[in-house]
């Protein structure tokens, strides 16, 4: 069964990430890289993707004539998707365990970020 693990945060949170020291960013990335490698080796890895900065986000609706109307204004509280992992696992518990590992990735001073990861099953492709 395929699950998507969603990492989200506010604009303020993203700005905070950009104040991390180079060393802290490298340590954080090394842990995520290790998790990706393990998932690839176990055959559970499907895809991962990081999204660009929320300042480039646009909200689009279609007018009656099909012409897009774009808007770049979002409430301060809005959580933006920062990135995701898609995994193909045998049980939901395994998806939660992987999300727990990602949540424990180190932040500044190697303290785990304990970032909440939203875990959702795919409706399509089983």
């Amino acid at each position: 069964m395929k699950y998507i693990l969603l990492m989200s945060g506010t604009k303020a949170g993203v700005d905070g990430y950009h104040t991390w020291s180079q060393k802290d960013i490298e340590t954080h990335m090394a842990v995520l890289k290790g998790i990706n490698k393990e998932l690839t080796e176990s055959g559970e890895f499907v895809a991962t993707q990081g999204l660009a900065n929320p300042r480039d986000a646009r909200l689009v609706t279609g007018q009656k004539n099909g012409v897009p109307v774009t808007d770049g204004i979002f409430p301060e509280s809005k959580e933006f998707l920062l990135g995701y992992w898609i995994v193909d696992v045998a049980t939901p518990e395994r998806a939660y365990a992987i999300a727990g590992r990602i949540s424990a990735a180190p932040g500044p001073g190697e303290v785990p970020t304990n970032m909440p990861i939203e875990v959702r099953q795919f409706a399509t492709h089983g």
């Binding site: 646009r58 689009v60 609706t61 365990a97 409706a123």
Partner: protein, 130 residues
């Protein structure tokens, strides 16, 4: 350039919509046609629908490294219903595709005009992550 188009319309606890079967079929038919067009134009990278929010879990690492799961979300939380990743020449093309998806038919065949969030994705996973 790659863009992700996100439908963020669902609310906490929401299950299968109570639309008549005919309306649901029209909606799904519209989405299938859109995906077919994008596949034929070579712009479709991926498209996925997510299961309903009543199955969503929020996971954090506990101090012992074990996952802590929670299924309680604020009423205001937006849930991802599905997404498309498209590879297009311009942002305007991504917005045009989003507008098309926005106009998908709802109950009674009326366009939903739901907002679609459009975001550039990093062109490849950062090399240090792979």
């Amino acid at each position: 350039m790659k863009y992700i188009l996100m439908m963020n319309t669902m609310r906490a606890g929401q299950g299968v919509p109570t639309w008549p079967t005919k309306d649901l079929q029209a909606h799904i038919g519209f989405m299938k046609t859109l995906n077919k067009e994008l596949r034929e134009s070579g712009e479709l990278v991926a498209a996925e629908g997510l299961a309903f929010p009543n199955q969503a879990k929020l996971v954090r690492a506990g101090s012992n490294g074990l996952p802590i799961t929670d299924g309680v979300f604020p009423e205001s939380k937006e849930f991802l219903a599905g997404f498309w990743i498209v590879d297009v020449d311009t942002p305007d093309r991504a917005y045009a595709i989003a507008a098309k998806a926005s106009a998908a038919p709802g109950p009674g065949g009326a366009p939903l005009n739901m907002p679609i969030e459009v975001r550039p994705v990093m062109s490849a996973p950062p090399p240090e992550m792979m």
